[in-house]
Point group: C2
Chain length 494, copies 2
């Protein structure tokens, strides 16, 4: 490590950027607005993918793949959808380059497309155009499909993971015979996202409904999960949309229902992206670097030998064989770092930076004493634990329990932080004061888009969601003083 | 099933198209040249991905992700590479649409990009531009990276899986400190592809070197695996390129070597795509539909109850519980199809069409007799096997062995077919006659691009590869009569 990380408390934004770069998660590419996800970062994303994919399959979904390109005419079919996405898209207009006569290349004007193609910002249109051929009768329903892919939304100001022109995600697109079933699917997938965020990412989330002005373009209702970052700002971590019959109407997808009548199919879509990598960094990391929940850590346990001579190293390496074997047998991702090009102190700092949950340090004296130094990344504490080097089963069981404990502790810490930074706010002065300090503000709102817009204009706070679970206590709007049925969640957001 | 499949022997091309569609593997989309990979097809591709990915990781590779877009200037940097890919690419020229004033959308002329972006046809340029920042010293090498992604190569005449504008693939890109190491990596990955094709796809392949005219644009040497389809044509099933220092030079990627001198890094790249799905169909299927090697089958065993009354169905369903449980316990993907909307005969045909390797049929009489009808998809034979419905372990072990046998039998059948259709050809008349009948022609070639081009022009046959393993017997070129060191493999190809 060259120099210390910026401190989280001093420059949160710079701290985030440096962790992403130094922990080797991602970097900006020379291609405007696009990122390179580096192997260590991608290994975390792969673990996220696997966990989510298993959950999708367990709830009856299958993967498929649809075209990258959306013809312009498809985008035009759903008016709100078009308005939402036409302003920020990559447009393919030609299909060939040619030599420019001086060693370079230029666009071949003879290879202009008759109809422009948009690089998908999301795939509702392309998918519903395909579903038209798949759906004739209620027997063809439901269709429960997901795809893992890249999408492009042109962004002027980009930020690694949080906002990039190209990002990776999954998008589920389902078709149903009844409204009830589609609504239930929308809720089910919101639940899957919440479970993933909390159980895998150790990140507590608030489940809620978006206001009409924050709704997905083309949706009837948008549900979301919102998480609090360590600077008190909110991050939208996944959305699940009930699309009604909007896309079925736009693409004329009708089916014969059980009553033998033609009816438009009911739709949902739901997505979660590499933005979650940014959330993971910002939710848990500290001034020493990344803090990873064990379930998503590419390396869960790192073992570092502490030695002076090559002979000592050989002795340690031999002695710890059974520990490594037993860790692997227990399904724990372990790395033994016996590289000799860096000192152990450097290695300690490096694995801390990379967020490895548990570090085992073993020196010659440990071999004599039958001990191992066990360091936790989440608390930065360490202790000496007894081990039988010949029969390490009990020791390894302890490590396994420790990983579970860390997973839970990280969650609890984040939950406590959110609770400490969530405020019931009842006056406009309080609101303005608190929003500057950060946090989630639970306040009454009169339900109008006007008030929502004015609050945003004056404070940069948006309604993150109308929480699904809340006290159903009526009150007066914090801005207009008008009636409000219940509090909603305001925050500044990423 | 509506009507019978076209016969393989009568219209091979139509037979292929129909299997792809009717077995629900893929379909053409409304987006020119792009396909939709349907859930059943994608499930096979996922199994291919998992198997390959495990092999990549076992050989020390890691996944990462690089941008979709290649700036035009990147493509210009490597001359041959540019020539190879500039003619068939999707070009992004604008980043916004706007309302056209009459309800539609049009390209916003004010949103023209300063530099055009190409949708990646392959990622050597983008990746080597990134590697420049990753490589300073020999200590940073090797870099062993792979990415799974979509690529676009504009094609005028497309065909599901075999030739589409957009396709999915993996592309490995490695950087090494020495030429020797890079060459060895090129060979290693060719070996991985061959092993995958033979062990997983049951598809024998010839490993060889491409002639200069068939080489990847920008490579020093291209290695490939070539498989024979059932119409005697060849299909290139994976390529591994030794890129020398070409891309390192173009993107100025130098490192300090162990001798403390600046040197350009050595490169390889290797790719395998959804084209393999087409190969899988064409290598094994028959007039009844798809034939899948068990290792890649999403459903390995289907169980179909044969019954007259709902009571019979209930009895059968109860009795076969332990068989299903034991199949799952053995890691076998089993589906019990007790749907009541189709007759069992229809189901038999449907699962044959979808290539399910083993079908178990169970009726009331089977329950009495303690038997199960076991049908093999590869040979279309069936037999009655004894089973203890309470303790089905032995029966299930037999099914497990049967799956292995099918995997091997499909391979052996394809190998015999290739052997029967590979010909040593020594005269030009023989060559012209045999190429019309199809098959692999092992013939002498004088080593010139002129002869290669003339043979292609006159017969549509190309040199698929110079096999790595062959009799090193000199002879005379089948076309020019000039000296030839050894035979090469000619064929018409997909």
């Amino acid at each position: 490590m060259s120099k210390a990380l910026p401190k989280r408390s001093e420059n949160y934004s710079e701290w985030y950027n440096e962790i992403v770069k130094r922990a080797d998660l991602a970097e900006n590419s020379a291609v405007r607005g696009c990122m390179v996800i580096k192997p260590y970062g991608f290994a975390i994303w792969e673990k996220m993918q696997r966990a989510l994919d298993d959950m999708f399959k367990a709830t009856g979904h299958q993967n498929a793949y649809f075209p990258l390109f959306v013809p312009k005419s498809f985008l035009e079919k759903e008016e709100e959808h078009a308005e939402g996405f036409a302003k920020e898209c990559a447009v393919v207009t030609h299909y060939r380059l040619k030599s420019d006569g001086s060693g370079g290349l230029e666009v071949d004007p003879n290879a202009k497309l008759e109809e422009e193609l948009i690089v998908r910002p999301t795939s509702e249109t392309v998918i519903w155009n395909a579903y038209k051929g798949w759906i004739q009768s209620w027997r063809d329903l439901p269709i429960l499909v997901n795809q893992w892919c890249n999408v492009v939304r042109w962004e002027m100001r980009t930020r690694l993971f949080l906002r990039t022109a190209e990002f990776l995600w999954q998008e589920g697109h389902t078709a149903h015979a009844t409204e009830e079933e589609a609504v239930s699917e929308t809720h089910q997938m919101l639940g899957v996202y919440a479970e993933f965020a909390e159980d895998w990412m150790s990140m507590p989330v608030v489940q809620g409904i978006k206001t009409p002005s924050e709704r997905f373009a083309g949706a009837v209702e948008t549900f979301c999960i919102e998480a609090m970052m360590q600077d008190g700002k909110a991050l939208q971590a996944g959305t699940s949309h009930f699309l009604g019959q909007n896309f079925a109407r736009s693409f004329d997808v009708q089916f014969v229902n059980k009553e033998n009548q033609l009816e438009y199919a009911w739709a949902t879509s739901w997505g979660l992206s590499t933005r979650m990598m940014g959330a993971l960094v910002m939710a848990h990391s500290d001034d020493n670097g990344l803090v990873l929940p064990p379930k998503l850590a590419p390396i869960q346990v790192v073992i570092i030998p502490i030695y002076r001579s090559p002979e000592d190293l050989a002795t340690i390496s031999e002695k710890i064989g059974p520990i490594i074997g037993e860790l692997k047998a227990q399904g724990i991702a372990v790395k033994y770092d016996d590289s000799d090009n860096q000192r152990s102190g450097w290695k300690f700092a490096e694995y801390e930076l990379r967020g490895v949950p548990v570090r085992l340090g073993i020196g010659m004296r440990d071999l004599e004493n039958g001990t191992v130094e066990v360091a936790r990344r989440d608390t930065l504490t360490k202790e000496s634990r007894a081990v039988d080097f010949e029969k390490p089963e009990e020791f390894v069981l302890g490590i396994k329990l420790l990983l579970d404990e860390i997973q839970e502790n990280i969650y609890n810490k984040a939950l406590r932080f959110r609770e400490d930074n969530t405020f019931l706010v009842d006056t406009w002065d309080e609101f303005k004061e608190q929003i500057e300090k950060g946090g989630f503000l639970m306040a009454h709102w009169d339900g109008t888009a006007e008030t929502e817009a004015k609050i945003k204009e004056e404070t940069k706070a948006t309604i993150r969601c109308i929480p699904l679970i809340s006290d159903e206590m009526a009150g007066k709007c914090v801005y207009s003083g008008k009636d409000s049925p219940k509090r909603v969640l305001f925050a500044r957001a990423y």
